[in-house]
Structure formats: C-alpha cells, structure tokens
Amino acid sequence: MKDWPLWEVFVRSRGGLSHKHVGSVHAPDAELAVRHARDTYTRRMEGVSLWVVRSADIVASDPDQAGPMFAPAEDKVYRHPTFYEIPPEVKHI
C-alpha cells in the first residue's frame, strides 16, 4: 500500500460551475481513487461531480521558467478590455 500512486482530485461544486482542484489522494487504481476522493473531499456536500487524474499524468510549467512564462504579460494592461467607452444605455456590463 506504500507504493500507491497519487491522484489529483477535482470537484464540481454545483451544476454549471467548472471542476476545481481541491487536493489529492492515494489509491491503487482509478475506481478506488474516486471512492477515496468522495470520502475525503465531498463529505459535507461540497460537490456534485468528481474528477481524478494521476498526478504523474499532469504536465506542469517549470517554476524556474516562471519569468519568461508569465512576466511578459505584466506590462500589457491593454489586454484587459477596460479601455472602451460604454454608452450609458448599455447596462450590466
């Protein structure tokens, strides 16, 4: 049981919302990973749907490359759509 793989757990809290990462569990296979995720993360009605995925299968960006990956976006505020004049007649935007 010590060599059980790790699984990342995603919970959809309500219909219409997207699944969110909530944590991880150990389990010998996918089916039991769902059961462990259910018993660990949805005991208090936190969710209506569960995803689990092998942690090893997740491809992540390299933290050492965070500069080149994310810094170039810092000085490009014009990418936010906040520079448009909105006519007063248009509400709820």
């Binding site: 049981m1 059980w4 569990v25 150990h26 389990a27 010998p28 296979d29 089916e31 039991l32 059961r35 462990h36 018993d39 660990t40 005991r43």
Partner: protein, 281 residues
C-alpha cells in the same frame, strides 16, 4: 343538541400519532407497536455495533484514505442507529432515547446479529464482514422502504443510499484483495472464512419478524436471499475466490446470546457516559 363526549387523553394520543403515520393505518401499527419497537431495536443494534467496530480503525488503518473511508461508513451506521434506536425508545414508551439505549443497556439486552460484533481482525477480515453485512443490509433496506410503517420506511429510504455505497465499496475491495497478491488473496479467503457461519443468522426469521412481515411492516428475509447469493457469487467470481461452503450456522444474537467480543466492545463504548453521566459534548 346533545353535546359531544369529552375528548379523552388516549384519543389525543391516537390523533397525534395519526397525523404522522396516517389516519387509516394507525390501528394496525398500534397493534404491532411492541413488535416494531423490538424490530427497530434489532436493526438499530446491528448498525450501532458495526459502526462502533468500524470506528476502531480510526488512526490505525493502513492508509489515511482508508482510515477516512472506514470512519465514514461507521458514521453512516451510527447515524442510522440513532434514528432506529430513537424510534425503538419512542415506541417502547419508557422514556429511553437513543443514547439511553446505546449506553445504558447491558450485553444480554443487545439484539444485534453476531456478525457485526466480530472483531476487526486484519483489513481483509473487516472488508469480508462489511461486504457480507452491507449486501444483506442494502437488500433489507431496499425492501423496507415500502414498509407500512411510515417511520421505518423513511429511515430505510434515507439509509439505503448510504448502504448501497458501503456494499459497492466493500465489493471493490474484495475483488482487489482476492485478485491481488498471494498474501492479500489468502487474507481475503481467511477473512471470509471467519464470517460464513454468521450469514445464516442474517436471514433468520422468528415469530416477531414473521408477524411484521405478514402485516407488511417488516420484510420476509427469505425473499432477500437469492439476491444476496447472486451478489456473493458475482463478486467472488470476479475476485477469483472460491465460492462459499457454508459451515454449521451460529445463531443467538437476536435473543441476546452473544459472543464474548460484544462485552469488550460495550466496555469501551459505554465507559464514558456511564462513568461521567453528566458529560456533554
């Protein structure tokens, strides 16, 4: 105009029950009141004792995730016990609530079946017990949802969803341990072998249960057996395990004839509320 007769206290009591249980079936339920109390006690004790057993794993399971999942099953069962023992105490009418029945009865007064009081053993033996008992309990609650007693039907309808999950989870583990390593397979076989002799008692009927079954309040448990046998066969076959050869049955739990194990369990469970009667949490 002649005046109406004075309303008697017992009329008020009957009317009070009728509002909850329905006007038309109240007389039949009244007639079976003691039997229903006894029946609720049996079902409640099964859930209570197995729930207590499962909580013994808390902090000791081979993995944190299993710790949580066994504690979860235990809590579901203790929740069911609270409802069933509450009903038993109410129908008994001696002012005992679920806590009084759980913590202030001695071993001979417990009506649970022998399977649920069996010691946990290793993980495989715990799973064997859970698999067999949950398969039976799920079938029972499934049928009990249609009880003529609305209270029993409501409790069964709530509990059956929990118990179906217990049965599935335990079956998953039987398959994994049975069809796993040489050691897990042997442990699963040993765990099941410990429990076969207690299966017969699950389906045992006596005068109380037969009368309730005839009145549409209880369940004729013989009708549940084919489903149970089919589940056992399906899961054991998938687990590549040998099918059961049932040894001579051990009976007596429903009459209070328990194994030595129940007393030890009660000593732990009842110690605190008996030693510190005023303790609250």
């Amino acid at each position: 105009m002649p005046s109406l007769p004075t309303i008697q206290p017992e009329d008020v009591a009957t009317a009070g029950r009728a509002s909850h249980e329905g006007v038309f079936d109240a007389p039949a339920l009244d007639e079976h009141r003691d039997a229903i109390a006894d029946y609720a006690l049996r079902l409640g004790d099964d859930a209570l004792i197995l729930g207590q057993r499962l909580t013994e794993w808390c902090g000791h399971a081979p993995q944190l995730e299993i710790d949580l999942s066994l504690a979860n099953l235990g809590l579901d069962l203790i929740g069911q016990a609270t409802l069933l023992l509450g009903l038993a105490g109410e129908l008994e009418g001696n002012g005992r609530d679920a806590d009084a029945l759980a913590f202030h009865r001695d071993v001979l007064a417990f009506r649970n079946c022998l399977m649920v009081e069996q010691p946990n053993g290793d993980f495989a033996r715990t799973i064997a017990r859970q698999f067999l008992f949950s398969a039976y309990q799920a079938a029972l609650y499934e049928a009990l949802q249609h009880s003529a007693s609305p209270r029993l039907a409501e409790i069964a309808a709530k509990a059956v969803k929990e118990v179906r999950y217990h049965a599935d989870l335990a079956a998953d583990w039987v398959i994994r341990l049975g069809d796993g390593s040489e050691e897990s397979r042997q442990r699963m076989i040993d765990g099941l072998d410990w429990h076969w002799r207690f299966v017969e008692e699950l389906f045992q009927m006596d005068a109380v249960e037969q009368a309730l079954a005839d009145a549409g309040i209880g369940v004729d448990k013989a009708t549940l057996r084919p489903d149970f046998d089919a589940t056992v066969e399906r899961v054991l076959t998938e687990a590549t395990l040998p099918l059961p050869v049932y040894p001579r049955a051990v009976l007596g739990g429903r009459k209070g004839h328990h194994s030595e194990h129940l007393g030890h369990l009660l000593a732990v469970m009842q110690f605190l509320p008996r030693t510190y009667p005023d303790a609250v949490w």
